[in-house]
């Protein structure tokens, strides 16, 4: 069923335009990558602070408050550029196990990030007071983000 959806989508005028105008896909991917740079740098810094190996002169609550908003800001752009790429080459993404893994991981990391932010908002000492939970959350989050970027790159290699 998803294959026939991909076939239908690939033959729509919009998809054909994206496929044939040479610069669209590289340009959209470039915007996508720049947003990834924003998200990865913020989340790596925050996660390594949660784990306790970097930025220790800053309170955890400041790091969370400073960096998570960038993720929420970048996500709509990532979704929009991602959608354009999917419309342009539906089967390349939708039938690809790396893409599916990436989307599943993204759903999980969004929940984790929201949880980190929410607990921090309710109680600025929440993560400082729970060293083990903070470390585990930081490790999990970082692995998810790295997994998302890796899976994203490996879409091309399936």
């Amino acid at each position: 069923m998803i294959e026939s959806f991909c076939d239908w989508l690939a033959n729509t005028p919009l998809s054909l335009k994206i496929q044939t105008v040479m610069w669209i896909i590289p340009a959209v991917q470039t915007v996508h990558i720049l947003c990834v740079a924003l998200v990865m740098s913020c989340m790596a810094m925050m996660d390594l602070r949660l784990i306790g190996v970097a930025g220790r002169k800053h309170p955890i609550s400041r790091m969370v408050g400073r960096f998570v908003p960038w993720v929420w800001g970048a996500l709509p752009v990532l979704l929009a550029t991602g959608t354009i790429l999917i419309i342009g080459e539906p089967s390349r993404e939708l039938l690809n196990p790396y893409f599916r893994f990436k989307m599943a991981s993204l759903a999980v990391v969004i929940v984790v990030t929201f949880f980190v932010q929410r607990q921090n908002k309710r109680d600025a000492t929440y993560w400082e007071a729970r060293r083990i939970a903070a470390t585990a959350t930081g490790v999990f989050s970082l692995l998810l983000w790295v997994g998302i970027v890796t899976a994203g790159r490996w879409i091309a290699y399936y």
């Binding site: 590289p26 990558i33 990834v36 740079a37 990865m40 790596a44 970027v149 790159r153 490996w154």
Partner: protein, 163 residues
């Protein structure tokens, strides 16, 4: 040594050959390159945005500078090592590739921009932070930095399409 001979030598080193012939080495090293690069661009963008007074305004430029650049430097080392390994796999082809050359030019210019900022503009930071006005040179460094790194990413991505 003349350049064509050097490139051919590089491609035929055990490392260059391995990366080129292996099914998994190029994608894996490329993934490291991408992860390191997004860390470089993302971290340096924090400083550039601060210089332009567009973000992190609750912190001084010196604080952002001190916090961010260690990340940029370490990530850059990883990106450069991974990039060199990728380059060595098809040195001749990349060397003659227009988009790759443009990427390297952009990269060189980010270095020039950074050097000028560090060695000249930033030296006066204590003074201009007290005066709470960011000098034009610092803002230009921030804007140029952002534009050039966007150029590096764009030409880098484009190179993948010209292979």
């Amino acid at each position: 040594m003349v350049i064509p001979e050097f490139l051919a030598w590089l491609e035929n080193t055990p490392v260059g050959t391995e990366v080129r012939q292996s099914t998994w080495m190029f994608p894996t090293i490329e993934t490291v390159h991408v992860l390191a690069t997004v860390m470089v661009v993302g971290s340096v963008a924090m400083l550039d945005l601060r210089l332009l007074n567009l973000a992190y305004r609750d912190r001084t430029i010196r604080e952002v500078h001190e916090d961010v650049l260690p990340w940029t430097r370490v990530s850059f080392i990883f990106a450069a090592i991974a990039g060199s390994l990728l380059f060595s796999s098809s040195a001749t082809k990349y060397y003659h590739n227009f988009t790759f050359r443009m990427k390297m030019l952009m990269l060189l210019l980010t270095g020039v921009n950074a050097a000028f900022f560090e060695l000249w503009t930033y030296r006066g930071v204590a003074k201009w932070e007290r005066e709470t006005r960011i000098p034009l040179a610092a803002k230009i460094a921030g804007a140029l930095g952002l534009l050039l790194w966007i150029g590096v990413v764009a030409f880098g991505r484009w190179t993948g399409f010209t292979k």
